[in-house]
């Protein structure tokens, strides 16, 4: 069992949470005509073997969306923070190529 330290509810079993998605995905503005940016966000993933920033929702608790930094190989959890606090910086498109 992973243990996620929800900033609102405290440390809980991950079974209380629902995994959302890769939080590093750079979603373009919905109205953006850049179809390549939409394609990249919808389909392509870094899929790292190591540190991974991801969204979880505390579905059986406060229902908040959280940002979790976790190692995909060791499952070590580095940080859990409220997604709302950082949403301004989350969805900005990053450079698409050469990552």
């Amino acid at each position: 069992m992973l243990r996620l330290n929800c900033p609102f509810c405290g440390e809980r079993d991950h079974a209380e949470f629902t995994y959302g998605e890769d939080a590093s995905v750079a979603w373009p503005d919905f109205a953006s005509p850049d179809s390549q940016a939409h394609f990249d966000a919808l389909y392509l993933r870094d899929n790292p073997r190591g540190r991974h920033l991801e969204k979880w929702q505390h579905i059986m608790g406060c229902r908040s969306w959280l940002l979790v930094e976790r190692d995909t190989l060791t499952h070590e959890i580095f940080s859990v923070r409220a997604a709302a606090d950082e949403s301004a910086g989350l969805n900005k498109p990053k450079s698409r190529r050469g990552r």
Partner: protein, 424 residues
């Protein structure tokens, strides 16, 4: 070499039995790695070995090396729940998986290795009229494509699988099930050993403990690989490393792929007397599939753990999920003890379907994205990937299994779910 590759036969078993079984030879050769090959296959799983075998058998290309980071049979080939079926309905999958079942039907004779393919049937249970309608559509499409499929009503079902609980009060009683009789199971690592032995016999070099750490490029084209055993040149390189595809593709310069790596657990119980002689699948409200191995163990599994992972170990919530599904349809299993549990890393593609294709890089070919359905595909995957590499063009059966299908608006989405890397 000739002695090492002696044919297996009833006579050889008799001879060995009378001489203390001391004369069995290594199943495949352990050659020194050469400096260059015509084709290198990265990944010594079932798909890589099958590809090497069919390169030699169907295309006459025997100057082939299969490079395996670990040992043969140590990856997902030895971690799956051994189910073989072709109950697919979308173009791109239907013909491909049916070809695979057809190859399975002759595989033991083809490889001179008993892969223990047992056509004990594959049964999908229905719990609601809506689910039955959706499945009727799927199984009717199968029949239109010449694939066997039939409906079992409750009485037929109870006779076919006495272990199912059809009696108790329940919100969603079992209404019946769809059966593919030609489907079944096989001995998973025997498939690997069989392909390894048969490929080796045709001159393929199988190199274990050889990790690919980089790619050698010349004017943008792949001309070899860097490995833990040195640099090896090759005219063509095929990747068959499901689970780690993103890493190898990254090293090769393919960029980001429509794949996430997730772990899937499997379980086996203590050996029991014969109890279940088919494969039973409970999909819908839960997800659970079970069969009984020839050793007697109940082999079963369910959903992904649900979060990206490269750890080959599972987590407890899925134990509970799978166990509760088991109890809901087969309560007689309640006192059975689980003997072992493990996990494997899956390439989860964005439509639940695989890739067997050329890439944007010359000399590099890709076999990936098997989600959690790769085992059944082993022979057809090798057949098609070998063709794609040898002819530098896809086989008719993998024409649609391309990496750029999402961008072309042609995903092969069996479940009609939309982009989501958790389907199979």
């Amino acid at each position: 070499m000739a002695e090492m590759m002696a044919r297996y036969s009833a006579l050889s078993i008799l001879q060995q039995g009378l001489t203390g079984n001391r004369g069995w030879q290594t199943a495949w050769a352990k050659p020194e790695v050469k400096k260059s090959y015509q084709v290198i296959i990265v990944g010594g799983g079932g798909h890589g070995l099958a590809t090497a075998y069919y390169l030699a058998k169907n295309h006459g290309i025997t100057d082939v090396a299969v490079l395996e980071k670990g040992w043969i049979g140590g990856g997902n080939a030895g971690r799956n729940t051994t189910i073989i079926r072709s109950n697919y309905m979308i173009e791109g999958n239907t013909g491909f998986y049916e070809k695979s079942v057809q190859l399975w039907e002759g595989l033991s004779a083809e490889l001179n290795f008993n892969v223990m393919f047992s056509q004990r049937g594959h049964l999908s249970l229905c719990f609601s009229p809506a689910q039955r309608d959706a499945m009727a559509r799927r199984y009717n499409i199968m029949r239109l494509n010449g694939i066997d499929a039939e409906w079992l009503d409750r009485d037929q079902l109870q006779k076919f699988v006495p272990l199912l609980d059809m009696q108790g009060e329940r919100r969603f009683p079992i209404l019946g099930g769809y059966l593919q009789r030609r489907a079944g199971t096989a001995r998973h690592d025997a498939v690997n050993w069989g392909f390894a032995r048969a490929a080796s016999k045709l001159g393929v070099d199988i190199i274990e403990n050889c990790e690919v750490t980089g790619f050698v490029k010349k004017r943008g084209r792949i001309v070899g690989v860097e490995t833990s055993q040195g640099e090896i040149a090759a005219k063509k390189v095929g990747l068959a490393v499901a689970g780690s595809t993103s890493q190898l593709a990254g090293l090769a310069g393919l960029g980001r792929l429509p794949i996430e790596s997730h772990k899937l657990q499997a379980f086996v119980s203590e050996p029991l007397k014969p109890l279940l002689d088919t494969v039973v699948v409970f999909g819908g409200a839960g997800h659970f599939y079970i069969s009984q191995s020839d050793k007697g163990g109940m082999v079963f599994g369910g959903d992904l753990d649900g979060y990206n992972s490269y750890a080959q170990r599972g987590n407890l919530p899925i134990w509970q999920d799978v166990s509760s599904a088991a109890m809901s349809i087969m309560p007689a299993l309640g006192r059975v003890r689980v003997l072992r549990q493990w996990a494997g890393i899956m390439d989860m593609s964005m439509d639940g379907s695989p890739f067997i294709c050329k890439t944007g890089i010359g000399g590099l070919y890709l076999n990936a994205g098997w989600c959690y359905g790769g085992f059944k595909a082993t022979p057809a995957s090798g057949w098609c990937f070998a063709h794609t590499i040898a002819e530098d063009a896809p086989h008719e059966l993998n024409r649609l299994l391309t990496l750029d299908r999402f961008q072309q608006g042609q995903p092969i989405d069996e479940s009609g779910h939309g982009p989501w890397p958790r389907m199979h």
